[in-house]
């Protein structure tokens, strides 16, 4: 359980970076640096609980790029859960690389490691959101095989729209049943599913969506059908 376990052949020869998994350590000494790196481009930082939420439950899905002096140069934070009772969905919540190290393939490498790990853990699909005009980020994910499946109106606090990107890892996902999204309360569709799940799960995504990032990192989860309000 000693924290930063070496992950595979995680060496970046050019930049002499080490790629390590956050692992099962509850509170790694790297956490403050991870927080600083991710918060750098956010006008509203996440509270420590957001990091703990991900890292405590899915520390093995968090990877860091460290320089020879163990400075955190890049980081990716993910989770892996069934999506609305259906496919096991990996979710890339945060990805950040230090400004001066961008364009060197570090983020791609981190995403690749996270995808491999999620695949190892039997993920059916992987999803994330990114700002529509964040071309470098879109390029990273699209080169790895993610497709844009939705455009999300005013997804970020700054009012910018996002794309939802999805990568299927297994066949047959479209045919897997999920809880229906909460639709127009009056106009058909109807809630369905577990009401607790609906209110708790979906609200979280909504708020998270808003608090999440203005930035160049990929945030936040899930559908936002919850936001739809019908006439009373």
């Amino acid at each position: 359980m000693s924290g930063d376990s070496e992950a595979g052949a995680g060496k970046d020869a050019g930049a002499a970076l080490r790629y390590v998994c956050y692992g099962k350590e509850k509170e790694s000494p790297h956490l403050p640096a991870i927080r600083r790196l991710i918060s750098k481009d956010l006008s509203e930082p996440y509270s420590i609980y957001v990091y703990r939420y991900f890292l405590y439950q899915w520390g093995e899905l968090c990877f860091m790029a460290l320089d020879p002096s163990d400075n955190v140069i890049g980081v990716i934070v993910c989770k892996l859960e069934p999506h609305r009772g259906g496919p096991l969905r990996g979710y890339i919540a945060m990805l950040a690389t230090r400004q001066e190290h961008r364009g060197k393939g570090i983020a791609s490498k981190l995403v690749r490691m996270a995808v491999e790990k999620m695949r190892e853990q039997d993920a059916d699909e992987i999803a994330l959101e990114t700002e529509v005009d964040n071309i470098p980020s879109l390029r990273i994910y699209e080169n790895l095989g993610f497709l844009r499946t939705k455009r999300l109106h005013r997804y970020y606090l700054n009012g910018n729209p996002a794309y939802r990107l999805v990568l299927y890892l297994k066949p047959g996902i479209p045919y897997k049943p999920t809880y229906p999204p909460e639709m127009m309360p009056e106009d058909g569709g109807g809630g369905g599913g577990d009401p607790l799940h609906e209110s708790a799960g979906l609200m979280s995504e909504d708020l998270m969506a808003r608090q999440a990032a203005q930035m160049r990192i990929e945030n936040v989860e899930g559908e936002r059908h919850d936001g739809m309000r019908g006439p009373p």
């Binding site: 350590e25 509850k26 509170e27 790694s28 956490l31 509203e44 930082p45 509270s47 420590i48 609980y49 957001v50 703990r52 939420y53 439950q57 699909e125 529509v132 699209e142 080169n143 790895l144 095989g145 497709l147 844009r148 499946t149 939705k150 455009r151 999300l152 109106h153 005013r154 997804y155 729209p161 794309y163 990568l167 299927y168 890892l169 297994k170 066949p171 047959g172 996902i173 479209p174 045919y175 999204p181 639709m183 127009m184 106009d187 058909g188 607790l196 799960g201 609200m203 979280s204 909504d206 708020l207 998270m208 608090q211 936002r224 936001g227 739809m228 309000r229 019908g230 006439p231 009373p232």
Partner: protein, 762 residues
């Protein structure tokens, strides 16, 4: 901290450790909540600080103690107290809690003008979707009126029995500005009410959060209007010089117009446009008094959101935003202000014409919904059921006794018309919601329109099943059997045809909106235009079978009768719908082949897609179309995976003397020719025939746009031909690296056109 004596409160370790089994954790959490609820009545007070400290020491730093109800929501909602970026109640050293400004102090006329203009800016930013906390609430005058500590909620004074108004400055604040503020607050409340009464998406379209405040519930809009009238009266005789008085009057008048219009007492959007121009012209008379606004107000609001800056826009920006809103409101009334709205097709065109202005503001979209949906009737005059009946009649029931509304009046159970009308009513009850949603959905934001239509595919599939069953029922009665059993396949019943017609339209829209929202990458365009073309081919078949059934009915109706006229009208409508669908089919066919060539020649390259497999990419892209529950929709529908065979067919067409590109070029030319000839046919329909009464200008504009698109495709194609001749070997084009390809949607948002340019030689 109250906990129950028996110690049945939250366990510090409950569900924290290895209990990752969701079901079990959930059950535990429910049990715990039940225990808490039971213990609630027995609660007493005990200081648990020591217990808490001891328990906390047993945990490792970073260990998360949570149950199943602790979601990302709670994690994100948690604040770190005293962190200035998170804690909206944090007061930096040396700062004061409250802003240092007294709203009850008299002000100069110029200052009041400036405050009013600032409020005008903040009001429109709120209407655009920013929270009140960052807009209207930052006004300290508004804050004083709304503050929960304020017992005299219509006054800027804290204490009762305000001193008499001695100076003009006092009156300007306590009569004029106060009336203006109250007017703005009541207008906000009415706008909020209108939006909340319709379908919208919280946060995406609008933020309804009031942060624990109320918008002057004790003052109604007529009282607010009276205050404004009182202010106007005073201003007219106050004798304040220098053009200031007219400027104040304009602002009060705008506020009053807005209030009365939103309250439904008048319709003043046109007047407001003039008011706005005058306000803009006299804005320079304002003297800035920035202290009258402060973000410190956020410290006292009921919110867990962090402190956020006021959204500042210039008056010029506010002027153009307000102008846009007023014009959209006017347009909502104009587009629904004709008898044409009784026609479901004209109404559909009006709905899309409205939505396809630059994305209308949420308030305008709510207004348009209100006009269409209040009291289940369009503009209060065309009941939704009647609208649906006219839709059925125009598409599948012209000349059929079923389309006669009188059959709904027949009560004699032995009359077959009674049984038939009951069946039709049964179907309409099942379908009305989804039918009306075809109109409602278009009023959502663009991204949502696509997603909502996508979600409705399955519902329409289900409706086809219902329609087919009811068609079967109708066949049992002589009334309709002579018409319905006229030699057509079982699947051609009128209700099934109707449901199919709408399903095909929804499917086509979802793909077109995919182009608009740019979710397809360049190397996916070929496949998606193929799919669009194939969906239109399906739609054509549906419409053609409706036309055949119509001609059959037409033969049976008496010449010169009302039924005969209905049949003629239906025929013209169906022909125009068919021509429109053919335009899309042919243009999409040209484009899919064009994009295929661009891929083949290496001009458009695919991303590496390291982790992707072709079949999984296909599933991800076509999910909405694969996922139709085992349905009806799939009869005759193009298989979502038919692209490869289409490509194969294209390649097979090459003959000995022609290289693939030549035959493909020819095929594209033919598609474009077909598109143009369908466009020419489309131009010949009158507004009545084509169902575009009231939206004639938009109809013409769209035809023009598509014509231009055809030309642009032809130009692109000839560029490709030329470059191919210059560089190609006659068999395969290899143009990678030689050609620049820009993808443009400048003629129509649904049509992505490749614009090719030879790269400058190095």
């Amino acid at each position: 901290m109250p906990v129950n004596e028996a110690g049945e409160g939250p366990s510090t370790t409950a569900a924290s450790e290895t209990d990752k089994h969701a079901g079990l954790g959930h059950a535990n959490a429910i049990t715990r909540l039940q225990q808490e609820a039971m213990a609630f009545r027995r609660r007493t007070l005990r200081n648990i600080t020591t217990d808490f400290t001891v328990a906390a020491k047993q945990l490792q730093p970073g260990e998360l103690v949570k149950d199943e109800f602790f979601t990302l929501f709670e994690a994100v909602g948690a604040l770190e107290i005293m962190d200035p970026k998170m804690d909206s109640g944090y007061i930096p050293p040396g700062d004061t809690l409250d802003p240092d400004f007294d709203p009850s102090v008299g002000l100069e006329a110029g200052e009041v003008i400036w405050i009013m203009d600032q409020l005008l800016c903040l009001e429109i930013t709120w209407l655009e979707g920013h929270p009140l906390s960052q807009t209207v609430y930052t006004s300290l005058h508004i804050n004083r009126l709304l503050s929960p500590d304020q017992r005299h909620s219509d006054s800027f004074h804290i204490n009762p029995g305000p001193p008499p108004l001695r100076t003009n400055q006092d009156t300007l604040v306590h009569t004029v500005l106060r009336a203006y503020c109250i007017g703005m607050i009541k207008s906000s409340q009415l706008a909020l009410h209108l939006i909340q009464s319709q379908t919208y998406f919280e946060e995406e379209d609008f933020v309804t959060h009031l942060f624990g405040r109320e918008l002057l519930p004790k003052i109604d809009s007529s009282a607010a209007a009276d205050s404004l009238l009182e202010a106007i009266c005073w201003l007219e005789t106050c004798g304040i010089a220098g053009g200031l008085c007219p400027a104040l009057l304009q602002r009060c008048k705008f506020c009053l117009d807005l209030l009365r219009t939103l309250a439904g007492d008048a319709q003043r959007w046109q007047d407001m446009l003039l008011d706005l121009d005058q306000i803009k012209d006299s804005h320079h008379l304002g003297s800035p008094i920035p202290d009258a606004f402060s973000e410190k107000v956020q410290r006292q609001l009921a919110t867990s959101t962090p402190p956020r800056p006021t959204i500042q826009i210039s008056l010029d920006a506010a002027h153009s935003k307000w102008t846009k809103l007023c014009q959209e409101m006017l347009s909502a009334y104009e587009l629904t202000d004709s008898d044409a709205i009784d026609n479901s097709h004209c109404l559909e065109r009006a709905v899309w014409a409205f939505a396809y202005r630059t994305q209308p503001e949420t308030l305008a979209r709510a207004q348009m919904q209100d006009l269409l949906f209040s009291n289940h009737a369009v503009r209060g005059q065309m009941p939704h059921y009647d609208l649906m009946l006219t839709d059925l009649k125009s598409l599948v029931l012209a000349g059929d006794p079923l389309s006669n509304p009188e059959i709904f009046q027949i009560e004699l159970p032995t009359d077959p018309r009674h049984a038939c009308s009951a069946l039709l009513r049964e179907f309409m009850e099942k379908a009305i919601e989804e039918f009306m949603a075809l109109y409602r959905m278009v009023y959502q934001n663009r991204c949502r329109i696509r997603r909502l239509f996508t979600q409705s595919i399955g519902i329409w599939d289900e409706l086809q099943r219902e329609a087919d069953a009811i068609d079967d029922g109708l066949r049992q009665y002589p009334l309709s059997s002579q018409v319905l059993n006229s030699g057509y396949a079982r699947t051609n019943g009128p209700l099934l045809s109707w449901a199919r017609y709408h399903t095909s339209q929804v499917l086509v829209w979802t793909v077109q909106l995919g182009f608009e929202t740019e979710i397809y990458l360049p190397d996916e365009l070929s496949k998606m235009y193929w799919y669009l073309s194939a969906l239109c081919t399906y739609r054509n078949l549906v419409i053609e079978s409706m036309l055949r059934a119509l001609l059959e009915r037409k033969r049976r109706v008496r010449g010169g009768s009302r039924d005969a006229a209905d049949c003629v009208a239906s025929q013209q409508l169906l022909m125009s719908l068919l021509d429109a669908s053919k335009v899309t089919e042919s243009l999409a066919a040209a484009l899919w082949k064009f994009y295929y060539l661009l891929g083949q020649t290496g001009i458009i390259k695919s991303p590496k897609r390291e982790f992707a497999k072709p079949d999984l990419l296909h599933e991800a892209r076509m999910k909405s179309y694969l996922n139709v529950p085992a349905g009806f929709v799939t009869i005759d529908l193009p298989p979502a995976d038919g692209y490869e065979s289409a490509v194969e067919a294209l390649e097979q067409h090459q003959t000995g003397s022609h290289s693939m590109k030549t035959t493909t070029f020819q095929a594209i030319d033919e598609d474009l020719k077909a598109a143009k000839s369908s466009l020419a046919a489309l131009k010949k329909y009158t507004p009545e025939q084509g169902g575009y009464v009231g939206t004639e200008a938009e109809w013409k504009k769209e035809i023009k746009q598509i014509e231009t698109t055809c030309v642009a495709v032809a130009v692109g194609l000839s560029t490709l031909k030329r470059l191919g001749e210059k560089y190609g070997d006659g068999q395969r084009l290899g143009l990678q690296g030689l050609v620049e390809c820009a993808l443009e949607r400048k003629y129509h948002v649904w049509w992505v056109i490749p614009q090719l340019k030879e790269k400058a030689a190095k």
